[in-house]
């Protein structure tokens, strides 16, 4: 468990915008993951993805790490932002774009 936590923490530290998802951005394996990728692409975000289907340790570990029972999960600047519903809501309210822009400007 702790090694999963360390791996997750390192991934989050090394990527300003990180998505734990099912599948990848080209071929999302779940509608919720697909929505997150679509929103981030629409905002022109620079982001990395981790396919939890390829990594059972991360798949279970990230749920405990964030105290969040579902995938996808989005982290920006080391902070857990939310799952698909929250990302879509924030996008629709115009709250996601400034977060994403701030990370692009800083990198």
């Amino acid at each position: 468990m702790s090694s999963a936590n360390e791996r997750i923490q390192a991934l989050i530290n090394n990527n300003k915008v990180l998505v734990f998802m099912k599948g990848n951005r080209a071929i999302p394996m779940c509608g919720f993951s697909a929505t997150v990728v679509q929103v981030l692409d629409r905002l022109g975000a620079v982001y990395e993805t981790v396919d939890v289907l390829e990594d059972p340790e991360i798949r279970e570990g990230v749920k405990a790490f964030s105290n969040w029972p579902t995938i996808p999960q989005v982290y920006i600047d080391g902070k857990f932002i939310g799952g698909c519903d929250i990302i879509r809501d924030m996008y629709q309210r115009g709250e996601l774009e400034p977060l994403v822009r701030a990370t692009a400007a800083a990198s």
């Binding site: 509608g31 919720f32 029972p69 579902t70 939310g82 519903d85 929250i86 809501d89």
Partner: protein, 76 residues
């Protein structure tokens, strides 16, 4: 799991809340829920969703494969 079971569970844990749950595929595993509750007052969206997930507990890891969730505070 039925939409009604999910609704009852949430309403019981959040007395006075308004809960609507729909089984989106009819298969008893993909759901959509709208929850309006005063108990969400002052909490972030992440915290509001966590409250609902924790009410559903182990069901989130088993019978419920997917739950699209919208939470809000009732207008005052």
């Amino acid at each position: 799991m039925t939409a009604e079971e999910i609704r009852a569970k949430i309403e019981q844990a959040l007395p006075g809340s308004n809960v609507q749950v729909r089984d989106t595929t009819g298969g008893g595993d993909h759901f959509e829920a709208l929850v309006t509750a005063v108990q969400f007052t002052g909490k972030s969206m992440v915290e509001q969703h966590r409250m609902v997930y924790s009410i559903l507990g182990q069901a989130m890891a088993g019978p419920i494969h997917a739950l699209a969730l919208r939470t809000s505070v009732p207008p005052t």
